[in-house]
Symmetry: C2
Amino acid sequence: RHAGELHLQLRRRLFFSHRDLDWILDMYEAGRKFVLYTGRGPSGPVHIGHLVPWIFTKYLQDAFDAKLYFQMTDDEKFLVNPDFTLDKTRRLAYDNALDVIAVGFDAKKTKIIMDVEDADIIYKIAIRVAKKITFSTIRAVFGLNESSNIGIIFFPAVQAVPCFIESELTGENVPCLIPAAIDQDPYWRVTRDVAPKLGYLKPAQIHCKFLPGLGKGGKMSASLPETCIFTTDSPEDVDRKIWNAFTGGRPTVKEQKMHGGDPTICPIYYYDHYLFEDDDRKIKEIYMKCRSGDLLCGEHKTMLSEKIKKFLKEHQKRREKAKDLLDEFLFKNR
Amino acid sequence: RHAGELHLQLRRRLFFSHRDLDWILDMYEAGRKFVLYTGRGPSGPVHIGHLVPWIFTKYLQDAFDAKLYFQMTDDEKFLVNPDFTLDKTRRLAYDNALDVIAVGFDAKKTKIIMDVEDADIIYKIAIRVAKKITFSTIRAVFGLNESSNIGIIFFPAVQAVPCFIESELTGENVPCLIPAAIDQDPYWRVTRDVAPKLGYLKPAQIHCKFLPGLGKGGKMSASLPETCIFTTDSPEDVDRKIWNAFTGGRPTVKEQKMHGGDPTICPIYYYDHYLFEDDDRKIKEIYMKCRSGDLLCGEHKTMLSEKIKKFLKEHQKRREKAKDLLDEFLFKNR
């Protein structure tokens, strides 16, 4: 209602649930700015599934002229992966930051926090949060237990920090909206409990689903590289991976022409639906033609491959430029 | 054996136990330097009981030309005291640092770490330590439980950091000796378990007892101010508190002259023994005269009061000067 038209990802219900979004929009209408907060756990290369909440966050930044804190939880990834060193998570955090910047955030309104490097400000706020959270809460909410290491037990306090950092720095109580994938919800439930105890507003949230992988079922996951489109994939990678993808099609062309395909189980269709086909008329047409058997999987794959390659070409160009912009975006250089 | 003569606090067995001290001295004889590490939890003003390990640490610094890391655990005190703010613990840390400096440490070889302000380096090392410590260990060693806050659960990793900070900064594996009160031993037991897993040497330790309070039994504790000699006490405070102190004397002068006093339960005697009477001949004489009834409690109190007032006058002079030296001593200004 504030941004002219609804973003594709809202229209198509990729962002499907929220908490206090109406409240934060009411505040905005009453003239009160809010900050955005999202993040990334740097455990490997970025794929197009990761980009979903970032693209949506950029849309929110533009629509509401909002400052964004983007948190790189290199500490978390170090603490949960037995064989990760701090060097490795740091390198991944810097690499992943290029993808963040390539999404097109406004350098003047975006600060990328590196948990380990920005620990001076993070720790100071995190211990205030931590003082209000008991081990039983962490065990119940995150399923941690006796054998969990004490770093990861402390970590939920660190992940809460960016909700409050603008308030901390400005001395005002600034509302915060978190666009993020639904799996992060437990963190915000804990954070919302703590916020009033520290005199802060509860952060609002808007949640997205996961993008499906290219295999049969499951989310896009970097641990299955052939089912993933990475942001640094070559055109050949894209062609091959899309060509090998699972679809909602029939075993033979003849059967498909007769009975039609099933877009509701088809990653190829979902990528168009959620990311690559902005035109509502066209997406409806794709759906109908798949259902009727007029659009064969091969054709659809070729169409999508072209769109993804075009998208990645642009992204990779901006990703290259991001190397020069990185310093501007880092919180430590504020 | 390395310092010419044994320090008073070693001779009189105030420092009474150790772990790996012989090993660290062997290393030293073989030409390898070690660093010293001790600290303070800034929860209130400093009293003469707190000075005991610091005075001994200064002796070690001089004798072995050793670098000292002095940790102010303002985070810990914030996390365990429900009504403490970070502002309060920070102010106490800065105030207590004056007493540390007044003990006479070498500014060139001493770095005072403020946990919260130095979190940039602390956190980086602490999460490496934390990754190797489970909640069960922390619960077993420190008696923490389900209701403990996640900040204090993480804290043992923070207290371990100064053992490794010289190695971290220099890239060499530098041995570390911790002179501290015996109650801190559990931290070092955990730290010694973790050290080899991170490729560091296990820290060595030397433990001291607590100085008794001026009341009957118990250690000197700031929560009972009348049983404490604070470093900022006036001469009148000292006279009053010492005069009101419990002693090992008899109910009446007559009985005391007849049966003698009991120095083994007498704080007045212990202060002379552990801190204020360096001369072995004289301390023996005091002991004998107390036992025989030749030294009355009033006399002994007056003698001790004079020594303490003289000591505090000097300490307070150096404490005043410490305000100008503070910046030089802070780790963050390294």
